[in-house]
């Protein structure tokens, strides 16, 4: 066993998951010893566990702009989204069963909407940069719209969505807004105006198995789960106190560094965005050029097989992800790239973790053009 993940130097997939923050590791170890008891009981060790859980809740609540009693911990970001969507849809059944979503929401949102009893999904399209138009989003809200869902930022291309403006549209029409803030929390300011918010701790350097569900006081939401006394009646099951506490520690540490990290990532991503078209012929850099996450850059290489590209980069020590269909179990291309109308094959997402360096990015920019050229030569498409 080693304390550091394999080949962390070439790890460029932070948007999938961030390696555990050292602050979280320390707190997790301590909390396993001090926060193991049942936080619902009344004796000393239980009260200690409850106190730790309340501390974690306070830290997370402050970071997302919520009150502590509005926040519950879930088993994952996906579970938070599922409970958020299903609970809001359930509580608003009498208003209607239409749910408005951007076309580029995370699959957990789209799948939850599809699973909401009797719900119909109204998808709001995006432009070529992956941006939702807030007025168009507002225009999609009808009298029988139960819920609207909009991500803080897109997980595949990094485009930041106009959540504050969309929230104003929702408020005007009395429709609750669910914000999937998984890519934003710990990096950018979380926009207000949401009724329900979901996030995931491992995206900010917390441990796996901890998600966040926040339901605004007064928002219409009814638990879709069987009754349970725990998780403030929102999330059934015994709380993961050590996990929640470690998640909070990671978030606090991450926020302290956020400004500096964002500046570093912004500069490195800016360099990749600027140099890719010079270094790799027929590459399309996708996602909004300026209104975007600081650490994500996505591009598609014409005539290149996405899976082959991932495999070759892995051999060179780089971990990246792809929205190309050949890399998906379904063999369909990413619905995000599809909605944007950009090339879906030869697609790569680079997302910088904490600790990404200039030297690492420079080396990636040396390796990538050779890998692409080699794959094109093998396929006989280098002169097309």
């Amino acid at each position: 066993m080693h304390g550091v993940p394999d080949s962390i130097a070439g790890y460029l997939d932070a948007a999938s998951t961030e390696p555990l923050h050292p602050a979280a590791r320390e707190v997790l170890a301590e909390a396993l010893d001090s926060g193991w008891a049942d936080p619902a009981r009344l004796y000393g060790s239980a009260r200690r566990a409850r106190l730790l859980l309340d501390n974690a809740r306070e830290v997370v609540a402050a970071a997302v702009g919520a009150r502590p009693d509005e926040v519950s911990f879930t088993g994952s970001g996906t579970q938070a989204v599922h409970l958020g969507v299903l609970g809001a849809a359930l509580a608003r059944e009498r208003a209607g069963r239409r749910i408005v979503c951007s076309a580029v929401e995370h699959s957990s949102v789209l799948h939850a909407v599809a699973a909401a009893p009797g719900a119909t999904m109204d998808r709001v399209p995006v432009d070529r940069a992956g941006s939702v138009d807030a007025a168009e989003f507002g225009g999609a809200l009808r009298a029988d719209t139960a819920l609207a869902c909009l991500q803080g930022a897109n997980h595949e291309v990094g485009t930041v969505q106009p959540v504050a403006e969309a929230a104003t549209e929702c408020e005007l029409r009395g429709v609750p807004l669910l914000v999937d803030a998984a890519q934003v929390v710990g990096r950018l300011a979380v926009p207000g105006g949401w009724s329900v918010l979901a996030a995931s701790a491992h995206k900010w350097g917390g441990p796996p198995g901890v998600g966040v569900l926040a339901v605004r006081r007064g928002a219409r939401w009814r638990s879709p789960s069987p009754e349970d006394e725990r998780g403030s009646g929102r999330v059934p099951g015994f709380e993961n106190v050590p996990g929640a506490l470690a998640a909070a520690a990671a978030l606090r540490a991450r926020l302290e560094d956020a400004e500096q990290l964002n500046r570093t990532h912004e500069a490195l991503v800016g360099r990749i965005r600027a140099r890719l078209p010079e270094l790799v012929p027929d590459v399309e850099v996708v996602g909004h050029p300026t209104v975007r996450l600081p650490h994500v850059v996505t591009f598609s290489c014409l005539y290149v097989d996405g899976e082959a590209l991932l495999t070759e980069l892995d051999k060179e020590g780089y971990a990246v992800s792809s929205g190309s269909s050949c890399t998906a179990s379904t063999l369909t291309p990413s619905h995000v790239l599809e909605a944007m109308g950009v090339l879906t094959h030869g697609n790569i997402r680079v997302s910088l973790p904490r600790g990404a360096t200039e030297a690492g990015v420079e080396r990636f920019l040396e390796v990538l053009p050779d890998v692409v050229a080699r794959l094109r030569a093998t396929a006989g498409v280098d002169r097309l």
């Binding site: 599809e338 090339l343 094959h345 097309l384």
Partner: protein, 81 residues
């Protein structure tokens, strides 16, 4: 193929996975003259996105899907240069 989807050249890319239909289009568009139409018959779901995107990147006209060939979409492209 039982039908011709109104094109000067029909590329049968059925059964090909991405990016092969787009590669086939890139290889063979030069076989027709400027302003002629090529139809790419492809059942790979990525073709619906990648063929219009290729047209944009290569400055050809994407004309949409014509009559399907044996139930498979035919993506029509006009060579512009």
């Amino acid at each position: 193929m039982s039908e011709r989807p109104g094109a000067d050249l029909v590329l049968d890319c059925r059964g090909m996975r991405c990016p092969l239909p787009v590669i086939e289009l890139g290889r063979r568009i030069g076989e027709v003259g400027v302003d002629a139409v090529v139809a790419v018959v492809a059942d790979d779901p990525a073709a619906a996105v990648d063929i219009p995107a290729w047209c944009r990147l290569r400055a050809h006209d994407y004309l949409g899907t014509g009559d399907p060939v044996d139930g498979v979409a035919a993506y029509r492209v006009r060579r512009r240069r």
